[in-house]
Structures are given as structure tokens and as C-alpha cells.
Symmetry: C2
Subunit: 463 residues, 2 copies
């Protein structure tokens, strides 16, 4: 179903703060009837009517049908165009309780307001010329950043950095294009050798910058979606003990009998600034128990696909064939090891084995809370190693749409370089023109309804 926003001038409302329990919450109302709808539930209505632009005052919210007081609130009027959306807007600041929020919104809906769609406030702001597309998109990234790296990039985009870079790229392309088009038109003049070399160098530079941006994007994607860290190992190695120690409470039954964790149990946690999905996987062993088999199959998947693999291995046993298979399966450089039960045995050979394999490790007992920080620091340092890319570029891409455009551009630029070797000037000229279109699309100079639908449907409601 395609939503037609252009025809939709209705007045919209939504919760604008995070859902859940807090001292306060903000409900936003926007549209040409925002004031008159709000007057029908804000009490006393005359006080609200007389309130001046951008002035916050104390009111009650009353259900006119039941005359029941819903809450004591403050509210602010914003007169068009001096508001976030550019329309008349009201912000109601109520107590931060779900029941109150639902009651207030349902009273507004009874008056004729409708619930805002995802990103509809920002979409209106964009359509009313309050901000450009890149700024609108960066707001979504600012709100949803789960780590300081992607937040810092988003703030820079909000302040216009990516637009400036794109415009510089565009300028460069226009220059080259003008030169090539001149050559096509007046082929009799010179052989343009010097110009060709210069153009090729420019295009190579551009390609290198674009490739850097795509690499940064890939890493930020992983960071944003949660860095997956499965805890793997043979049965009874101490995987659940490690899982619980990291989480800091008793989540699974930890027991000495083999094969206790049949489910893959996962928790989303923060380790330093990074969002991590920590997984307690089933122990790898030989079994004909069908339930355990399901679990073990899942474990192998995580060993193959995790972002960082933690192998837990007991100090009192030699490396088993199963463990060797795990180490082989995990790709190079993404495994770290925790040697458990060092209080029982300090079996020197295991340490030597990990050193030889170039797998970082720590030795612990997994029996006391004090080891928690050692383990967290160890894991955190290896998360950071995976994301050490601060110096590699700007980070101008902040969502899927922008990523797709830059990927398209990347391919076209490679084609241009190839054709430059063969002097296919007309093909080059066409590709460069398409690249220009891409760049205009990126900064929002050629937006259409469908693209806007896609962009704003990824926002949260209330923004």
C-alpha cells in the first residue's frame, strides 16, 4: 500500500519521547487544526487559546465526554511556520506513564486528530522546506545510534558535512565532464594527453574516497545492528558460567552435567560503548539426542557467522578434536579464547597451543565476580581492534538509501576508469552524467514521492 502524503493535510499526533516509564513524556501534535483540536482537551481552553507562541504553561487534560481529569500537563504552542514541521504545532508534556499517554492520544483521536505515521513529522518538515533531505535522514541516525562512532558521524552529517563532500565531488565531475564533452565536440584539437592523465588521477582519487566510505559504512552497519559474540566450546567447558558472569546474574542453570544448555540463549548488552549480542551456545559434542542436535547445529552456525568468537576451554583437559574443528571453522583473527578452571589445573600445553595459533587468550577460574572486569576488558579490547577505523574517511553514508546510491556510483566510476584506458569518451561522458544524477539523488535534489515513502517509513513514530 502506497501512502499518499501529498493529499494528506490532516492533523497528526504521536508520542515523541521513548516509550516506557519516566517522570515526563512529550506528545506532539502538528497540522493546520492542531490548536483547535488541542483546545478541546486542554483545560482551561481559554488559557491555552490566549497563550502566546513558544510559551509553556500549566494545564489539565480533561476528557470532555466523561469530564475525567487525565493528567496535569504543560503545553507549548508553536505558530506556523516557526515550528519543527513548519505547521501549527502543540507539544504536550505529560507524566511519563503509558496509560496516560494512551489516554491523551485516544482523546485527541476522538477529536479528529490521527496517529502520525513513521517519520511523518520530519517528512512534513522536509516538504515545508525546514531542512534538506540529508539533514532529515541524519536525524533518524542521531536518534538510533547505538555507539559513539555512528552518533558522531550523524551529527556531522546533520551539520552539513556529507552535503559539502558530495557537492565537492559533483564539482569535480562537472569539471571533467566539461573537458571530455569539449573533446568530443572538437576532436581535431590536440591529443589532450595531459588533461587525460589529470582526469584519470581525479577519478582514481574519487574512487578511493568512495571505497573508503563504503568500508566505513560496512563497519558501522555491524556496530549498529549489534556485534554478535557467540560463546562456544565443548560441553562442560564453562560457557554458561562465562555468560552469567558477563551478564552479572544467574540466567541459565549452570550445572556439571553435560549438555545442559540446549537452547541458544542470547542477551543484548553493552560492553563499553558497543551494542553486543552475547550468545550462550550448546556445547559441541557427539550426541544422538535429537533436542541437543538442534542446539549443536545452531552452535556451528554461530561459529561460522559470529563477529567475534569466544572459545571457552577447560585448563584441565588437552585440546580435543572438537575444539580443533571449532578453531578451524572460525575465520582467521576473529577468535579469542578463555581458558577456564585455572584453579583446578594450569595445564601449560593449552597456553602454548593458543600462542602457536596466534589466538589471544586469558586464564580464569570463572568462579568469582572479580574476574568480570578482566574478562570484559579483554573482550572490549578485541571489539575495538575490529573497529579501529577512525582515520579512514568521513562516514558520509547514514542509511541504506545512501549506501545503495554510493554502491551504484562505485560501479560506474570503475567502469569510467576502465573506459578511460580505451579512450571511449562518449561512454565515459554518459557514465559521468549518470554519476551526477546519483549525486543529485543523494543530496535530495531529485527526490520523488516513492523515495520519500521509503526514507521516512524507516523513522520511528513521533519523529
Amino acid at each position: 500500500m502506497k501512502m499518499n502524503y501529498m493529499d494528506d493535510n490532516g492533523t497528526i499526533a504521536a508520542l515523541a519521547t521513548a516509550p516506557g516509564c519516566g517522570a515526563l513524556a512529550i506528545i506532539r501534535i502538528s497540522g493546520k487544526n492542531a490548536f483547535s483540536f488541542a483546545e478541546r482537551c486542554i483545560d482551561p481552553p481559554n488559557k491555552f487559546k490566549k497563550a502566546s507562541h513558544q510559551k509553556i504553561k500549566l494545564y489539565k487534560i480533561t476528557d470532555n465526554e466523561t469530564r475525567k481529569t487525565i493528567d496535569e500537563v504543560t503545553a507549548i504552542k508553536y505558530e506556523s511556520p516557526a515550528s519543527y514541521t513548519g505547521e501549527d504545532m502543540v507539544e504536550i508534556i505529560c507524566h511519563g506513564n503509558e496509560i496516560i499517554i494512551e489516554e491523551i492520544i485516544s482523546i485527541l483521536i476522538k477529536q479528529g486528530v490521527r496517529l502520525a505515521k513513521k517519520g511523518e513529522f520530519t517528512r512534513r518538515a522536509f516538504l515545508n522546506g525546514k531542512m534538506d533531505l540529508l539533514k532529515a535522514e541524519s536525524i533518524n541516525q542521531i536518534i538510533n545510534s547505538t555507539n559513539p562512532i555512528s552518533y558522531n558521524r550523524a551529527i556531522e552529517i546533520y551539520n552539513g558535512k556529507s552535503k559539502n563532500i558530495l557537492l565537492a565531488w559533483k564539482k569535480e565531475i562537472i569539471k571533467i565532464l566539461a573537458e571530455i564533452d569539449a573533446r568530443i565536440e572538437f576532436p581535431e584539437e590536440d591529443d589532450f594527453l595531459e588533461e587525460k592523465d589529470k582526469n584519470k588521477k581525479s577519478i582514481k582519487n574519487l574512487l578511493s574516497e568512495i571505497e573508503k566510505e563504503l568500508k566505513i559504512r560496512e563497519k558501522i552497519n555491524v556496530l549498529d545492528s549489534g556485534f554478535e559474540i557467540p560463546i562456544v566450546g565443548i560441553t562442560n567447558a564453562g560457557k554458561s558460567s562465562l555468560f552469567n558472569l558477563i551478564l552479572g546474574y544467574n540466567r541459565t542453570i549452570v550445572h556439571h552435567e553435560e549438555g545442559t544448555t540446549r537452547d541458544v540463549i542470547s542477551e543484548e548488552i553493552k560492553i563499553k560503548a558497543a551494542k553486543v549480542k552475547l550468545l550462550d551456545t550448546a556445547g559441541i559434542n557427539e550426541t544422538n539426542n535429537t533436542v541437543e542436535l538442534i542446539g549443536i547445529e545452531k552452535s556451528w552456525e554461530y561459529i561460522k557467522n559470529g563477529n567475534l568468537i569466544i572459545l571457552v576451554t577447560p585448563a584441565d583437559k588437552e585440546i580435543s578434536e572438537n575444539e580443533k574443528a571449532i578453531i578451524k571453522e572460525a575465520r582467521n583473527g576473529k577468535m579469542i579464547a578463555i581458558i577456564s578452571k585455572k584453579d583446578i589445573s594450569l595445564f601449560g600445553k593449552k597456553k602454548e597451543y593458543f600462542k602457536a595459533q596466534d589466538i589471544p587468550f586469558v586464564e580464569v577460574c570463572l568462579r568469582n565476580e572479580e574476574e568480570r572486569h578482566i574478562i570484559l576488558d579483554f573482550i572490549s579490547s578485541h571489539i575495538n581492534i575490529s573497529f579501529n577505523f577512525m582515520e579512514q574517511g568521513f562516514g558520509i553514508i547514514c542509511n541504506k538509501r545512501q549506501e545503495e546510491i554510493i554502491k551504484r556510483t562505485d560501479k560506474k566510476i570503475k567502469l569510467v576508469l576502465e573506459k578511460m584506458d580505451n579512450n571511449y569518451d562518449e561512454i565515459i561522458s554518459n557514465e559521468l552524467k549518470e554519476i551526477l544524477f546519483d549525486m543529485e539523488e543523494f543530496v535530495g535534489e531529485t527526490e520523488n514521492e516513492e523515495i520519500l515513502d521509503k526514507i521516512f517509513s524507516e523513522f520511528c513514530i513521533g519523529k
Copy 2:
């Protein structure tokens, strides 16, 4: 550690909206230096300096050390005493992202602001005479209500209902006390038979009202802390299938092998308005597997203590001895039954058994999504039966402190009634005076530092 708030005139700050991700978030600052501290990070500071009382304006937050822009925000100045706390206050409305919130608060802290303690804003409001104690306490209840029943009570208390009731009770007691004290002073006059009867009737009425209030409180306590519903039964009855069907996604491995759910797995959900803690318990069977034994012991605990017990029992088997033991263990009237696998067998005897035992039941397959609503309605109606007390009284108690005072009063009133039968006027007079003290304590006329510490430490930070 006792916190000394009286000496503490520091400027405080905290997030006031729910934590998590949203379009917006509010950070509150309160104290005599609120404006000057805010000026040091609000950009441009002069615009903020010139901004008038209760006027919202657009700014940036800048880290003065690094000159980095943290966010684009709006901010409101409230000049003392026209603010929530009665002090100078600033509300900063920033984008609703944890990283931004943390950065802004840490910049404020660098300037000399300190993080607010729990309930410190409301405590200051109370100490500065902006609201009475009952209103302050009701705010906490308004924010934390998890169901419409306790929220409606809290709003009424906020609007002064409990204070009015307490003052009426107090007036009644003062009248009786005056009469009894007169009798003690002038014992020679009359025999006061009529007055005695009237007083006794008044005290009995008061006792009945207080007992109603305590009963309502008990039920609201259960509602607020989450209604515990364990799903119990023999192994392989379909408990995990029911659990997953209610939750609407695959949370546990559901498998035909016996004893699959070794852990007690729980999820907090909402069934209609009620907060429910749904528990998937281990199947009751005979076992010598030590891990399962832990689980089964837990299951028996839940059968004993759950608020509503759901017995899942397969249609294709007779009632087993284990099931009979479960039914016996669950106290009267708090068990409902789900007969599973009706697609396999419609074993009539099982239905007859539940009818005879007066245990409500439904028959389902547990194989398709459509049954979800039937099951939720069935469970919901039995939750409501447990909480059908709307007509029983006002609900003037909204926290532990108030509950303890009313419990004390309850005991004293019973003692007064007892002594009335024996004409112990002096004892009665003393008890009534103590009851008066209790009532003054309830409405906050005799508050002290320690009681305030206790009350406000139960608030959330930011309120």
C-alpha cells in the same frame, strides 16, 4: 548512609523522560545556579541569557573544551518560584538518544552540576511548598502505574481525594475524642449512654472503611507487581507450545521429547491492561536427573504461590496422579485448565473431571495462531474475576508508607472498639490521640527528615 538534603542546595540534573530511543528527551536542571551552569554549554549563551521565563527557543549544546557540537536542542528557563521545584530550573529538550543524553549530562557535571538523587526534584518541590506530601507521593504512583485501576486511584489522590477523606476521618475522631475527654473530666454528669452508642457506631464505620482500603491496597499491590501466571502440567502436555502461542513467537525449543524445559522461563507481558509474569515451568514427572529435579522443585513452588495457575493437560490421556497432585496443591479457585491436543482426541472424561472439580477450562489444539485470542480472552476473564473490586472503596493508599500507617490505625481502632465495650475511657482517649497522630503523619503534617528520605528514595531519578 543517610543523605542530608537540607544542607544540600546544589544544582542538580537528570534525564526526566523514559530511558531508551525516541525522537525527543528532556533533561531537567534545578537549583540556584541552574541558569549560569546551563549558559556554559547552551550555544549561543547570550540568546539563552536574554530568553524570557517559560519561553522555549532553539539552541545548540556545545562542549566548551572540545568545541564539539553535541546536539541541536530546545530549552526552557523557569524563574524561581514559578517552576516545578520552586527553584530556578532549565529543561533541555534534546534528541532521544542515550549517547547524547549521557554527553549532555556529563558536560553539565563538568560545569559543577551534580546528578539528581531519586525523587529529588519532587522532594524540593515539596520542601519549597509547591505541593503537599500526598500529592508528591501520588506523582510517583501516577508514573509507575501499570494498570488503569491503580492509575485512576493515583490521579484522584493527586487531586486531593485521600487528603479530604483523611481530614473527614480526623474530624470525626476529634469529635468523639472531645466527647470522651469531657466525660473523663466531668464523670458525675449523665451516663452518656446515647453518646456512647453513637461513638461506637462511628468507630465501627471508620473501621469498616479502613478495612476496605486495606483490601483494595492488597489487590493493587498484586496488580502493580505483576500478576504471576505459571503454566504447569505433566511433561509433554504442551506447556511450551501454550507459552509460545501466548507470546506470539518461538521462545523455547518445543520438542516432543520429555523434559525439554529444564529452566523456568518467564516473560513479562500485558494481557489486556494487566501486567502479567507468564512462566513456562518444568513438567512434573518422576525423574532422577538432577538438573530436571531443580526445575521440578521450582514448578511446585509456582503451583503453590502463583496468582492464577494454568494447568495444561493433553486430551488423549487420563488425568494422572501427578496432575491430581497439582490440582490439590493449587488453592481453590485460582486454577484454570487448558485441554490441549483436542485434534488428536476428545477424551470426554477429562472434561467431566474438570466440570466436577469446578475448574474452568477450554479445549484447544495449540497448533494454530487463531486459538491465540480464544486463550487470551479466557485467561483475561479470569484475571478480571480476581480483581473485581471497583465498588469496594476509594483506594486512598498509594504506597508502602501510607499502607503501614493505615495498618497501625486499623489495629488501634480495633483496640478502641474492644475498650469501648469495657468503658475504659482513658485508654480509649489515648488510643484516639495516637490515631490522630497517625492521620497527621499520613497527610504529611508531621513529616521528618528520615521519613522524607524513605519516601523520595522510592522515586525514579529525574522526578
